[in-house]
């Protein structure tokens, strides 16, 4: 449904994306995960036909974003990170205006609006001015708006930014049902791990390049066993000590040493015993996408 090939984008001399390639299949929920400034927003702007890339090709629903932007726009719904609603208008007026932009009108549009509002639980708010509504509701209006023309692909940029955990879960539920009930292909960008974990597949973006791609499960399984995080005053010397004593190579960052190891609980007992007083706190967890990201880039996502 989406093909990205060798995509490169520069702003003047600064390279924002470098040879990015991936493919999204029909009906997938696909995530672009990475820290802010990693290239997600640039990629999103190119996918949503707002910007022409320096090099490379992108096709959405069979149309090239540079050569046939109008055709792409008919097949794609876009939910922006920032608000794209008119706050002085009601929910219904916003949706109607959006429908008109897509050339929809009359009974057809009214029907689509009703269906979209029902699907996203907005029916009882349809006469309310947008400025009186909460952030979570506004997000849902944005999605309803993006669905009016029945797009095959829904692009969502950091859609859960600024939402509380409950509203975020609610949003994920709506997104999931769009995929399962309507077969919409969804591509979302995020820097929130919990959200990325719910994707079918994802790419990790760092400094404009893809550092890893696969399902969250596959990515996590790159790390064998457990992750042990040791807080310490002097991470470099502790890391060196561990390497010497246990023959494994830990990652040292300011005040932290991370070790990937099977049977982490046993390692903890040994390491605390071996370096008395050097360790301030100890943590053990199953690998997360954050661990994968740290392993591939040495940097943190959030």
């Amino acid at each position: 449904m989406i093909q990205v090939q060798n995509l490169t984008h520069r702003y003047g001399d600064r390279v924002a994306l470098s040879k990015v390639s991936f493919e999204v299949k029909k009906g997938e929920i696909f995530g672009l995960l990475g820290p802010n400034g990693g290239g997600k927003s640039t990629l999103f702007r190119i996918l949503s036909t707002m910007m022409v890339p320096t090099e490379g090709t992108v096709t959405l629903a069979g149309h090239d974003v540079v050569r046939a932007p109008a055709a792409v726009r008919r097949q794609v719904g876009v939910v922006f990170q920032t608000q794209s609603l008119d706050k002085a208008l009601t929910v219904e007026e916003n949706l109607r205006a959006q429908g008109h932009l897509h050339g929809l009108s009359g009974a057809l549009l009214t029907g689509r609006m009703q269906a979209a509002m029902e699907k996203l639980g907005l029916s009882d708010r349809r006469k309310d001015l947008v400025e009186t509504l909460s952030g979570g509701l506004r997000r849902r209006i944005e999605i309803a708006k993006a669905l009016l023309h029945k797009p095959q692909v829904l692009l969502m940029d950091e859609a859960s930014t600024g939402l509380d955990p409950a509203a975020r879960r609610d949003l994920s539920r709506h997104v999931e049902s769009l995929r399962s009930e309507e077969g919409v292909t969804i591509l979302l960008t995020s820097h929130i791990l919990e959200e990325a974990d719910r994707c079918d597949r994802l790419v990790l973006l760092h400094q404009g390049s893809i550092v890893a791609q696969g399902s969250p499960q596959e990515l996590r399984s790159r790390i064998g066993g457990d992750v042990v995080v040791l807080e310490t005053g002097d991470s470099a010397s502790l890391a060196a000590g561990i390497e010497q004593r246990f023959g494994i190579k830990p990652a040292a960052r300011d005040g932290q040493v991370r070790v990937e190891i099977p049977n982490g609980h046993r390692f903890i007992a040994e390491v605390v015993e071996a370096f008395p007083g050097a360790i301030q706190s100890v943590g053990l967890h199953k690998p997360t996408l954050e661990d994968v990201f740290v392993r591939e880039t040495g940097a943190s996502i959030e």
């Binding site: 008119d86 007026e93 008109h100 050339g103 009108s105």
Partner: protein
């Protein structure tokens, strides 16, 4: 056909609905030219001479406020969804300019209610050419605002242009002193300033003095200026962006 006009009409309608819901905006736009006019007019004991200038200033303020909103609206607002919709950019430009021009026109008409203070008496039939002239000027100034705002990243840049270009342009348009009494290079500036022709056109339709250049010339220059700005707006908006538009 409907895919061109429907988006334009929707945008136009949106401007009107927003305006109606924020009626206090009228006060902000009409009040300051009214105060300027009354102070300068009473002080120099010649309200009639400064009337057209004050009316054009009202229209200009309204046009600027409407088009300045493009800058924010494109980053965070309704224009963002227009940019990724299949609606043609030209239809978007037409809708936005028509909407903003209509608002400027309405506020110009509100200012027209103060015409009796300037000693202007208007017959009902004469209202038609006057209203038409005000609309033409509204359209022109909105087009000018659009062309400036479209490339701007921040509203502070727009304010700079307003103070360095638009307000001086208004000052040397016959709003404060007629072309006949102007000195040196300022006279030349007035001659090439499209706004001079707008003021003259208004003076002519209102039967006020200083209706030079002549009415035909004024009408043609004002209309041509508006048309050029509309075309320019369309061309600018249709360009593909390699930097982000939002």
């Amino acid at each position: 056909m409907s895919s061109f006009f429907l988006p334009a009409i929707t945008l136009w309608q949106r401007e009107l609905v927003r305006f109606w819901r924020q009626k206090s905006r009228v006060l902000g736009v009409v009040a300051s030219p009214l105060v300027f006019w009354l102070l300068i007019g009473y002080g120099s004991n010649d309200l009639a001479r400064f009337y057209s200038g004050a009316l054009v200033l009202t229209v200009m303020f309204s046009a600027i406020f409407s088009t300045i909103s493009i800058i924010e609206d494109r980053r965070e607002g309704f224009l963002l969804s227009m940019l990724v919709s299949p609606a043609p950019r030209t239809s978007m430009v037409l809708g936005k300019i028509a909407g903003s021009a209509t608002l400027a026109w309405i506020q110009g008409l509100i200012f027209l209610c103060f015409a009796p203070l300037a000693g202007v008496r208007v017959d009902l039939v004469e209202l038609i050419p006057i209203a038409a002239a005000i609309f033409l000027i509204s359209f022109t100034l909105t087009g000018l605002g659009f062309v400036i705002a479209w490339r701007m990243d921040s509203t502070s840049g727009f304010h700079a242009i307003m103070n360095l270009l638009l307000v001086p342009m208004w000052m040397v348009s016959g709003s404060l002193f007629p072309m006949a009494t102007a000195h040196g290079f300022v006279k030349w500036i007035m001659w090439v300033n499209p706004l001079t022709y707008s003021i003259s056109l208004l003076n002519f339709t209102l039967h006020l003095p200083n209706a030079t250049p002549g009415p035909m010339e004024s009408l043609i220059v004002t209309a041509a200026f508006g048309l050029v700005l509309l075309l320019l707006s369309g061309v600018m908006a249709a360009q593909k962006a390699t930097r982000s538009a939002a």
